[in-house]
């Protein structure tokens, strides 16, 4: 998925601080693209190639790597977001060739790396890491050995690569330049005064220059401190075609906006961007999930009981997980709010499993619950979005949601991806313990695999309606979110979203319980939002709607197409695709995310920075 790369060539004294420090600060600005591991390579003035890398976040490892202590004319850097394969010191970028003279940073995937690696291994090259990137320096080294000049060797190397890449390469034999290439993955050039820059995204070098050139697919070239050369070969892969230089006049743009604006990539807020990223985030979560969960499924299948702990949005995902475990897998299961967990966990022992759900992996209450559970003798499993954070480190087993970094304080894509993982786990456990047949299980898995597409459809079909509903919600001070069974955690999450960013008091309640008290508050035009996942047993949701309508409430429903009665009974209907419950629980929250977002915008609040809230809560 997303990684960030930077490259800097500067004349002496232009940057006014050591090159290593500039690389560190630039990488810091790309941290939103990933922060699992970090590394840099610098050509020092005396001609040495320094390569330092480590897993961990920039701020945590910068002292260890000694970023600030290195200076030179040319340097490259990389910040990585591991999606496949562990973040480790060896796998971190830059990667070098056998001779240690060529260093490469890369964002993207080289599809044909195995073939190239096999070929180079036969020719005597030695590979150290398990990454696709490592073939690049070795291939370039090989072409150089065959007599090509460094730039020719680089172009030949690029011609061999298939897949998506943004590359920055330095070579000791040409210490004045950085070679680069772009295919699909983003790459921009910054034109400074006596220094030129290369980065995955503009914010990386905004401190030094506002003049940029956005590179296009298939472009290859190099930059020196006062020149940029770009070439393009019309038909990629056709080794006969000639590289033709590109005229860059007219391509230079002057950037006049802030780094934050650039990172939002065509959305006014991070939250809206992240809502729209859900199809891709879910696809990334579900890709290769089998390998991640094999041991976890075995452990859960043997467990006597499964306790799932989480805070805030993660608790709502936990609640859905426990309902799926109980109903689908027939596994005794309960969800507990992290900060309350200590009152429950002491009764656990060997044979019990605790799943700790936390986006950041640093939520202090959840971390304390993990320690409590371990002390009681339970097996602990972390479900997190941030590789090697505290909760994964302290747990026995870990699953990553791989949703990509989330910047908006209100969780969106991390919720849907957490639910997707828990739903997948429940199906696998159910199959393993014999609660459902293999055929049912494969049907459910197939439905989950389609969830990314379904999510995209739901967003496109309902965004305008959600914006229209938001006009009404913006006038209100209260709302009820009602649901039964699987719908209840979705209602709770929907209410939380409205509360935390739109500052409308919203309460979620089990629909059947509403007449035992809350209904007293309902009066004319009071908004009541119903959720129905799957079926409406005995028309109970329908009768709850009628109860509310009898009190002149304004009603809305998020329900599948097949529940025509429910959809027809309400004032505003969000017609969802018919999905098996395991998939519906993932996707049905989307309309509520949109309603909350548009209500906040309508009221003039910044949804990315809700008052009194922090993204990661690390205090008790």
């Amino acid at each position: 998925m997303a990684c960030g790369i930077v490259g800097i060539v500067a004349k002496e004294g232009v940057l006014r601080k050591p090159l290593g420090r500039v690389i560190r600060e630039s990488l810091k600005k790309l941290e939103y693209r990933g922060y699992d591991s970090v590394g840099f390579a610098i050509l020092t003035r005396d001609g040495r190639l320094i390569v330092r890398k480590s897993r961990g976040m920039i701020d945590n490892v910068s002292a260890k790597l000694g970023f600030d202590s290195f200076d030179g004319f040319v340097g490259i850097g990389h910040t990585r977001w591991a999606t496949h394969g562990k973040p480790s010191d060896v796998n971190a970028h830059p990667h070098v060739d056998c001779g240690g003279t060529i260093a490469v940073v890369h964002n993207g995937i080289i599809e044909n790396y195995e073939e190239i690696r096999a070929e180079l291994t036969r020719l005597g090259h030695r590979f150290i890491s398990g990454t696709d990137t490592e073939v690049i320096p070795h291939l370039m080294e090989e072409f150089k050995r065959q007599g090509a000049s460094p730039y020719e060797a680089f172009k030949k190397t690029v011609s061999r690569l298939k897949g998506a890449y943004a590359l920055a390469v330095i070579d000791v034999s040409t210490p004045d330049r950085i070679y680069f290439a772009r295919s699909t993955s983003p790459l921009v050039v910054g034109l400074g005064n006596g220094a030129n820059f290369l980065a995955s995204d503009i914010p990386a070098f905004l401190e030094f220059t506002r003049k940029v050139i956005v590179l296009r697919d298939g472009e290859v070239g190099y930059l020196t401190a006062d020149n940029v050369v770009v070439e393009y070969r019309p038909k990629a892969g056709n080794s006969e075609a000639l590289w033709a230089p590109i005229n860059l006049t007219g391509r230079v743009r002057v950037v006049e906006w802030t780094a934050e604006m650039a990172m939002k990539g065509g959305y006014p807020h991070f939250m809206l961007k992240e809502i729209h990223e859900q199809p891709n985030a879910l696809a990334s979560t579900l890709a290769g999930i089998e390998d991640q969960v094999t041991d976890v499924v075995k452990a859960l299948s043997k467990a006597e009981s499964v306790v799932i702990v989480g805070a805030g949005t993660s608790f709502h995902a936990s609640y859905l997980g426990s309902l799926l475990m109980s109903n689908l897998a027939r596994k005794r299961s309960v969800a507990i709010i992290s900060s309350e967990a200590r009152w429950h966990l002491r009764s656990l022992g060997e044979g019990d499993v605790v799943i700790a759900v936390s986006q950041s992996g640093e939520t202090i209450d959840t971390l304390l619950a993990v320690r409590e559970a371990k002390a009681a003798g339970a097996l602990t499993i972390a479900l997190s979005n941030v590789v090697d954070s505290a909760i994964p480190r302290e747990s026995h087993m870990t699953i990553y949601t791989r949703a990509g970094p989330e910047i908006g304080v209100a969780a969106t894509k991390t919720f849907t991806t957490q639910v997707a993982v828990l739903s997948y786990l429940a199906v696998k456990v159910a199959e393993r313990v014999g609660a459902i047949s293999a055929r049912e299980a494969s049907e459910y898995v197939a439905a989950l695999r389609k969830v990314p597409d379904t999510a995209a459809t739901i967003i496109a079909m309902h965004e305008a309606k959600a914006r229209a509903v938001a006009r009404r919600m913006a006038e209100r001070t209260n709302a009820f979110y009602l649901g039964r069974g699987y719908s209840l955690p979705i209602a709770m999450e929907g209410a939380l979203k409205l509360k935390e960013i739109a500052y409308v008091h919203a309460e979620a309640y089990p629909a059947g319980e509403s007449k035992h008290g809350p209904i007293a508050l309902v009066e004319e035009n009071f908004p009541v939002l119903f959720t129905a996942v799957g079926r409406d047993d005995g028309g109970m949701i329908r009768s709850n709607i009628e109860e509310m309508k009898a009190r002149l409430a304004w009603t809305l429903a998020v329900a599948p197409e097949s529940l025509k009665e429910v959809l027809r009974a309400v004032d505003v209907a969000f017609k969802m695709p018919d999905l098996p419950e395991v998939a519906a629980v993932v996707a049905y929250i989307i309309p509520y995310q949109l309603i909350a977002y548009y209500t906040a915008v309508r009221k003039g609040h910044d949804p990315d920075k809700p008052r009194n809230l922090a993204k990661t809560v690390t205090v008790v």
């Binding site: 590179l215 006049e256 006014p268 305008a464 229209a468």
Partner: protein
């Protein structure tokens, strides 16, 4: 950055109010639609603006004023329609200038968001808005990564799952050439996408008004005034001691407000306007320069054009009165419509926890409404 503003067209739906002049010159809260657009461009750092219109002489005043703030060029469009206007600025658009439809009101952030996305992705970019009814706009179908799958110009039927094109875009040479060849934006974008090129969308979520009908002017008043937080009264305004002014109200030079008048903000009273004794100006009312609202009248959420006169004892609501028009004493607008009533677009108002649909009438420029007239919802008054 550079920008191209399309300011042609008198706007079919607004002819009663424009009298054939460019519709972007219509004023809302003392400022023409086009001035708001240009001010936005200045605020996001535009260095050069190319304005394309079929009536350059109408823009002389604006050319002078904005010529001080940026490099400003007015071009006369030789062939009609949006395509004709775009091709007049073909050079600029091919070079990645920001394209802005001059009749679209939105905050400057939307311009910036679109331009930033286009630069970030290095591909043509269209601003889109989630609108429930995309009829008469461009309907844009977007994939899960925010790129355009398909574009449909002004669909006649309601479409689900499409976004409305918001009148702000960044193009490139290839796309502009296709538009010239096909003489159609729809066919150009679809052809460009079909041959494997990417067109990005930038999704705008806040308010956005496409000024095409009188009701859009009322919407524009709402959104402009929504941003007001304070009252501002010009020192030369004469306000009677018994008049009541509350909320965010802007009162310009030489305004006269007579005894016992009540002005409840947000409201705008333009230069030299007169508000008679016992008159009640209610929220979202825009009284343009030199207009007169005579005594004992009540006005709610309306636009009263430059130099128009509202006779005494008149009730005017959700209406637009053209420049220099006269509404006779004792006239009355009927407001409440049922949403299901076909053919009338109305404003949804939530009051006392209930939703109402309200719309008044349109009084054409310079026309006269006889005394004691009863004006029907949605009526365009005939002289």
């Amino acid at each position: 950055m550079r920008a191209v503003v399309l300011a042609g067209g008198s706007g079919k739906g607004l002819i009663p109010l424009t009298g054939g002049k460019p519709k972007v010159l219509l004023k809302v809260c003392g400022e023409a639609v086009i001035e708001r657009v240009l001010r936005n461009l200045v605020s996001i750092g535009a260095k050069k603006v190319t304005l394309v219109t079929d009536k350059p002489s109408e823009f002389e005043d604006i050319t002078v004023r904005f010529g001080r703030l940026l490099e400003f060029e007015v071009r006369k469009q030789s062939s009609g329609g949006i395509i004709g206007a775009m091709l007049e600025a073909k050079d600029e658009l091919s070079n990645g200038a920001l394209l802005v439809y001059g009749d679209t009101l939105v905050s400057a952030e939307a311009y910036e968001m679109t331009y930033v996305a286009a630069t970030e992705y290095g591909v043509p970019t269209l601003m889109v808005v989630p609108e429930e009814d995309v009829r008469f706009y461009g309907a844009v179908f977007v994939d899960s990564r925010g790129f355009i799958k398909h574009f449909k110009e002004a669909p006649r039927e309601r479409i689900e799952g499409a976004y409305a094109f918001g009148g702000i875009a960044v193009l490139n040479k290839e796309l502009v050439d296709l538009i010239e060849r096909d003489e159609s934006i729809e066919s150009a974008i679809n052809g460009y996408v079909a041959s494997g090129n990417a067109v990005k969308t930038a999704l705008w979520s806040d308010w956005w008004v496409d000024v095409g009908y009188p009701i859009n002017l009322l919407e524009a008043i709402y959104y402009v005034m929504m941003g007001w937080k304070t009252m501002r009264v010009a020192s030369s305004a004469k306000i009677a001691s018994t008049a009541v002014i509350e909320g965010p109200v802007i009162i310009e030079d030489d305004v006269m407000i007579d005894h016992y008048a009540v002005i409840r903000g947000p409201a705008y009273i333009g230069r030299g306007a007169l508000i008679g004794a016992h008159t009640f100006i209610r929220p979202y009312t825009d009284v343009e320069a030199g207009a007169v609202v005579s005594s004992y009248s009540e006005v709610v959420w309306s636009l009263i054009g430059r130099g128009a006169t509202i006779g005494r004892n008149t009730f005017l609501g959700y209406s637009v009165v053209g420049d220099g028009a006269t509404v006779g004493p004792g006239a009355l607008t009927k407001l409440i419509t049922k949403p299901e009533e076909v053919g009338i677009k109305a404003i949804k108002v939530v009051k006392r926890r209930k939703e109402w649909y309200k719309i008044g009438c349109t009084v054409p420029v310079g026309s006269k409404v006889p005394e004691l007239s009863v004006l029907e919802p949605g009526e365009i008054v005939k002289d």
